[in-house]
Amino acid sequence: MIYDLFNEAIKNLSRSGIKTYLTLLGIIIGIAAIVSLVSIGSGLGMAVEQQLDQLGGKTIFVIPGGFQNIRIKLNETDISNFESIRNVESVVPVYSTSAILEFNGEKINVSVNATDSGDKTLFENTGFFNVKEGRDFTRNESGSILLGSEIAENYFEKKIEIKKLVKINGKDFRVIGILKPLPQSFGGGPDPGNTVLMSLDAFKRISTNLNPTIIFINATDKESVPQVVDDIKDYSDKKYGDKSVNVLSSDNLLETINSLLDMITMFILSLAGISLIVGGIGIMNAMITSVLERTKEIGTLKALGASNNKILTLILIESALIGLIGGIIGILLGFGLAEVIAIIGTQSGFALIAVKSYEIIFGALAFSMIIGMVSGFYPASRAANLDPVEALRYE
């Protein structure tokens, strides 16, 4: 009997004309909008968290305050003082500058990052030394660089390949490796896909700016992180003034990023909420119109002896099926859309991932089926409760 109803419902739908397709389209658009927003929204924080997790919570970030020229300048003395703080395992300063990269006669401005330490695990953990092709440089190599894949592949008319010679600020360097891009920029820092990496010795050839833009400090273990943070703060507050140097543990950083992400998530969620309402109303409108149009058919069924329950069940199954089909197509479309948004976003420097979770799939399916059924139920029960004659008279 239920099987029979299913059969009938499928038959009705498969023979439906343009109007059912329009109904379906309404549902597809609603669901696609919801799914793409939720997918992008829930992907926002994930990658950043993953990366911070990789650092194992032992890392402290020391970032001089200020911008550009008025940035506080930390120097070698500071670095060696940091090294002598209790429970500090290693100190990894990172030097940055922008420089002119010349290849094949073309000149382009790029950002250059360098580090002094032989201990590159920190960098590696954050994905900076994820060498895609070629090899890594060793500590004292002053003529070798790693090139971000974006720069290597897209900046110049001709692709820069490994072993090619390039000029940076007029000095010769050999490209010994290509860096994989990170899926998104790390905490707003440089994207290895868009940067040039070199050793400190190499950096000294092209820049006199030997004040680190960020210093990674590794504590010996997670437990001593607060003490190390305090000691660094005491030191820099005394020397450079209160809060002129930012000292963050990865937990701090996570908190900061999270509170920002929370705001963004709230924003995305409110967008998703609006799209739920708009999509839901679209689905309702489509369903109600299509069922109202069938009032006359409902009248005929009643004349032929069909009970209200039977008619309602039939329409509910049909509505659910339309919701299901529209939901499936809408989800696929929504994920596709999210993927496109993520790719465009990543290319323009935003940390976007399209999350494709079962929660989104089931949530969207349940939503479209339930909204479909509810909005099919209302006009159907109205029609089913009419006298057959009244339903038949409906135009």
């Binding site: 009248g299 032929l304 009970s307 039977k310 038949l392």
Partner: protein, 233 residues
Amino acid sequence: MKNEMIRLENVSKIYTLGEIQVKALDNINLSICEQDYVSIMGPSGSGKTTLLDVMSTMMKPTFGKIFIEKKETTKMSNTELASFRGQKIGFIFQTFNLLPKLSALENVMVPMWVNNTTRSERITNAKNILESVGLGDKLQNRPNQMSGGQKQRVAIARALALNPNIIVADEPTGNLDSKSGKIVMDILNDLNKKDGKTLIIVTHDQSIGEKAKRKIVIKDGQILNGNTKVCQL
């Protein structure tokens, strides 16, 4: 004397349109016997359709009682009424009211689907009935692939699907040319003559009305004549 099939006791129907009330049926008492062939005639707006709809359970009267095969339909719940209607009465409409997405065969199968007949039985029965109205070669045609006369024959076949005792038809030839109309009326006449169905027809067509065993004329919601018959209770 034949047994009573349908009885109306003091039946009135008042339509309310906002402020305006229209008394479409005015205190009607009527008794229709089994195997009877009744035509209902009268001027436009006299209440023919209303009378037919009310006595065939398609619409509830405002006042009065209606009995079909001695059961009071005006007391039944909507669910009871639906299944009772499906079993006892076959409907033929001026505008056919076939389900547009279904083939002729499937349209005839609908009442049996409603009645939970098995699928194989539905197909066999529907085929047989369609053949009996001369549409054995149109089983797979959709309504929009058939002529008016053919559609009305599909509707007759559908009305017969559950072998009801009563057939009601409101202007069954109203949308048909005279030739198709005659084919349809011949089938309906046979249903009464050969199969003993109680047949009630609303019509404007004098020649069709005249063929009935019993002619009821209605005006302003009241029966003018043809209401002398008494059936066995």
